[in-house]
Each structure stands twice: as structure tokens, then as C-alpha cells.
């Protein structure tokens, strides 16, 4: 009965409207940043004359668009992709734009899968789930809610289930990652970070060699990684332990960011932590932060409730 009540409550309110909008903006900037960084190399990555051997793009092939056609006209594809990102950024076209963006992102990933990492893989799934979410209540040109009660309930359910899908998938990633690591001898014996810090491709700082030779650091950092990955999927669901385990996760990913030069991946993972907090929690945190800034700097920044008016109701729907 309690479970049924909980499931019904998911239809009553979009509990993550704020962070869904924040993440939508993040997705857009992240995708634009990636394209800008690749700008000079787009021909190598996606062009027909690249030295990279082409892999078939699954969805477009199903739609009757051959991979070689896409690669020959990749400039048009990238232009359309950037346009869709901008539309999504402003919340124009809503769910339909989100779906188009997901399909384009998936196609782009398949056009050159060699440059992908786990962060890109996670991002693909988040974008798929966000197709079903109403992430347009903030930072979009027109925020609104359905007048029709069934549609409104469906929209709220879609949003809440989208966030639940993201958080469940995220926990599953940590769980399986930890499971694989425990099976590996170097993780079990506490020496894995010696190897991760010493490999040339991931040697992010001149201090890596020094740290990798320090037995205490290697043991603690290896077990810290394991403990975070093992306990995160459990402790993040309890209010008392959530913040601690999230802070530990952020520390872990910042460490990887700095010392292993894996940038986009870590930012995506850190940003995903935000889905573990509801609107009320974000509101309380932001209001506290804004009050403190206002107090220190003697500014008059508006608090959370002030800058977000109640959403409009779509008249005709």
C-alpha cells in the first residue's frame, strides 16, 4: 500500500524540475564544447577522407541513410546537430527536440567510437532518459504545464521516472565497476593506483611518479576508490549518508580529473550527482548560498523562489 501511494505521488509533482533544467543546460554546453574542441579535427573524426576506418551508423542505416553518405556530408550533419543543441538549450521543441538530439548524439558516437569513454556512454543514456522528462520549467523560453490532468500526471511521472532511471543506472555503473575491480588482483591487493598513475597516457601531473611510488598513498587511494564504488549505490539512498558519499565521489572524480587527464568523463559523473537531490534541497542550498553572498558582498541577488515564478498552464492542452 505504501509503495502504491509512493508511485501515485510520483504523478503529482515534478520533484526534480530545477536540476533537470540545470542538467539540460549542462548537456548543451558540454556537447557544444566537445564539438568546438574537435573543430579542427572534424574531418578526421567524421569525414569520408579520414584515416579512421568507418563503422556503420546503426540508426541512420535503419532510416535508409547510408553511413558513407553521412560521412561525405558530415558538415551538414554537424550544423544540424549544433542547431538542435541550441533549440534544446532554449527549451524549444521540448521532448521532440530532446529525441532528435539523442538520435544525433547516438549517430555521432557511432561515426567515431574510438574517441569515446565511459562518460560519453553514460551521457548517451541520460540523454535517452531526458527525452521523457520535463526539463523546461527553468531556463527555457516558455515554461508551462499541461491543463489536461492526465497529461500533467503523465509528464510528472515521466520526469520523476527519468531521474529515477538516471540515478539507478548511475548506481548500477558503480556497482558493476566495483564488482569488476574486486575481481582484479591489483585492486584487491591495494596497488591499482600505482599502475593508473604510472601509465603515460594518463599521467596528468609531474607529481604522478612521486605519488605512485609512495606505498601509503597507493594503498589508501586504491581502497578509497573501491570503498566509494562499493558503498555509493547503497549509502546514497539514505539522507544521513547521502552528502558524505557524494562529497567522497566528487573528491574521487576530481582526483581522476587532475591526475589522470580524463576530463569530460569526470565532469559528467560529478554533474550527475545533482540528481540525487530534490528541488527543495536545491532550493534550500541555493537560498543559503545567495543569502551568504548578499550578506558578504552587500548585493541584492534574488533568492530561488523569487527568480522562478509559477509556471504557466498551457491554455489549449
Amino acid at each position: 500500500m505504501a509503495l502504491f501511494k509512493y508511485l501515485i505521488s510520483l504523478e503529482e509533482k515534478n520533484r526534480y524540475s530545477f536540476y533537470l533544467a540545470v542538467f539540460r543546460i549542462f548537456v548543451c554546453f558540454h556537447l557544444i564544447k566537445t564539438i568546438l574542441f574537435q573543430w579542427a579535427y572534424l574531418d578526421i573524426l567524421y569525414g569520408a577522407n579520414s584515416f579512421v576506418s568507418p563503422v556503420p551508423t546503426f540508426i541512420t542505416e535503419l532510416l535508409g541513410i547510408p553511413t558513407h553518405f553521412l560521412r561525405e556530408h558530415y558538415q551538414w550533419f554537424i550544423t544540424a546537430y549544433l542547431l538542435i543543441i541550441v533549440l534544446y538549450l532554449f527549451g524549444i521543441g521540448k521532448h521532440f527536440t530532446a529525441l532528435l538530439l539523442f538520435l544525433c548524439y547516438e549517430t555521432l558516437q557511432r561515426m567515431c567510437n574510438l574517441v569515446l569513454n565511459g562518460g560519453d556512454n553514460l551521457m548517451k543514456f541520460i540523454m535517452l532518459y531526458m527525452v521523457f522528462a520535463d526539463s523546461y520549467q527553468y531556463f527555457s523560453i516558455k515554461a508551462g504545464q499541461f491543463k489536461n490532468q492526465t497529461l500533467r500526471r503523465l509528464s510528472n511521472l515521466g520526469s520523476n521516472l527519468c531521474v529515477r532511471a538516471i540515478t539507478l543506472h548511475f548506481c548500477m555503473i558503480y556497482f558493476w565497476s566495483a564488482w569488476h575491480k574486486i575481481h582484479a588482483e591489483v585492486w584487491f591487493n591495494g596497488v591499482a593506483t600505482y599502475y593508473t598513475f604510472s601509465i603515460g597516457r594518463f599521467k596528468g601531473t609531474p607529481w604522478n611518479d612521486f605519488l605512485a611510488r609512495n606505498g601509503v598513498f597507493v594503498t589508501i587511494s586504491t581502497y578509497f576508490t573501491l570503498i566509494v564504488e562499493v558503498y555509493f549505490p547503497v549509502l546514497v539512498w539514505f539522507k544521513k549518508t547521502r552528502l558524505v558519499v557524494v562529497l567522497c565521489g566528487i573528491a574521487l572524480h576530481l582526483g581522476i580529473y587532475v591526475f589522470m587527464m580524463i576530463y569530460g568523463f569526470e565532469i559528467i559523473f560529478i554533474m550527475t550527482y545533482g540528481f540525487f537531490f530534490k528541488d527543495e534541497e536545491w532550493q534550500a542550498f541555493l537560498n543559503k548560498l545567495i543569502s551568504r553572498i548578499n550578506h558578504k558582498a552587500r548585493w541584492k541577488l534574488p533568492t530561488f523562489a523569487e527568480f522562478h515564478p509559477e509556471p504557466q498552464v498551457y491554455a489549449g492542452r
Binding site: L7, E11, F37, Q38, A40, Y41, I44, L45, S50, F51, V52, S53, P54, V55, F58, N113, L114, V115, G118, N121, F125, T150, R153, L154, L157, L161, A165, L168, H169, M172, I173, W176, S177, W179, H180, K181, H183, A184, E185, V186, W187, V191, A192, Y194, Y195, T196, S198, I199, G200, R201, K203, G204, T205, A212, R213, V218, M261, Y263
Partner: protein, 210 residues
Amino acid sequence: MNILRPIIYLAFISYFAATFLFTMPDNYINLQFYHQQQVFQQWLFQRWGFFAPPPNYDERLYYEFRDKLTHQSKTFEVMEPIVALKQQKAPFNWHEDIVDYLLSGSMTGIGDDLHDMRQDLIYRNKQAGKSATDTSGERMLRETIQHGISFQTLRNYAAIVAQKNRLDTARHEVRLILSHVMLPKFADRFSTKPRREEAYFISDYVTLNR
């Protein structure tokens, strides 16, 4: 909503049950659904064993160019300079990062394919009563790899290496040597001995594509 609700929850639960099943390490249960797993991974590819285990080597990629007429050869290693630049320029190293991922990803692809095919070969030899892999088996592995996408990518890159080093692409053929420079074990981390290098794939001489 009364009709939609059970459909939505059923879809949600089924999707996550399938995701959980098809992303777990190989075991008796998920191997029963091997073909379904292949289909699932084709649509929703995911693999979450980050650095489990981490590599215990640095990769090296040698291009050995041989003059078709004189048979004189010149060898260039491409990974070490890229990785050194990537380290130097961090965090503003996106060019080196892209090239590193393209080459390293292809090398990893070849390494993984070799491992899988060799396991398969050993299994088939065992079934046939042979004690070890023979030379024909190794030749078959090499030829299969040389027809693969990863090898083609590295082979195409050879033309860029040749151009950079002012070698006539029409006059030269190239052989690829992929190797691992092993890290010393953690217990030997202060050792000053030179690191051991193991070649894991040596191709035939092939013509330069572009």
C-alpha cells in the same frame, strides 16, 4: 492513467532488469541469454569495468617503412611523442588527446581481438586434439586482424607518418609493430632496470593506402 500506469511501470522494470542482466560479468545465467545480450548491446552498448584491471604497460606503435626497390628500412615510433605532448599540454591537450584516443583505441581493439581469437583457436585446437597453436593458426589470426577496421585505421595513419617524414608513399611499403612496454611490478617500483618491451602484433608488409 489507470491503463497507462501498469504499462509504464512494467516497461521501466523490464528495461532495468534487462540492463542489469546484460551488463553483469559473464556468468551461467546471462550466458543463457547470449544472443539476446548481443542484440541488447548492439542497441544500447555499455561496459562499466573501468580500469579493472588497469593496464600495466605503455603502448608503442612502430611503423617500419621499407623501400620496395632497395629494401632499406626506416622505423618510427608514434605513441611516445604524442603521449609526451599530451602530458606537457595538459589540460589544454585536446589535439593530442584525440590522436591518442584514435591510435590507442585502435591498438586496444587489435589487442582485444587477438586475445579473443587466440582463445577461440586454443579451444578449437584442444577439441581437435592439437597441443599448441601452429603457424597456420597464427597466420590466420594475423590476416584476420589485417582485414579489421582497427588495423585499417592504423594503416591509413601510416601515410601521415610517411608524409611527415618525407617518405615517398608510392615507393615504400610498411609494417606495423604493436608492443607493450611493461611497467615494473609495484614491489619493483624503485628498480632502475630498463623496462621490458613485448611486441604483441607484427603485421605483414602492406602498401600505403593514401
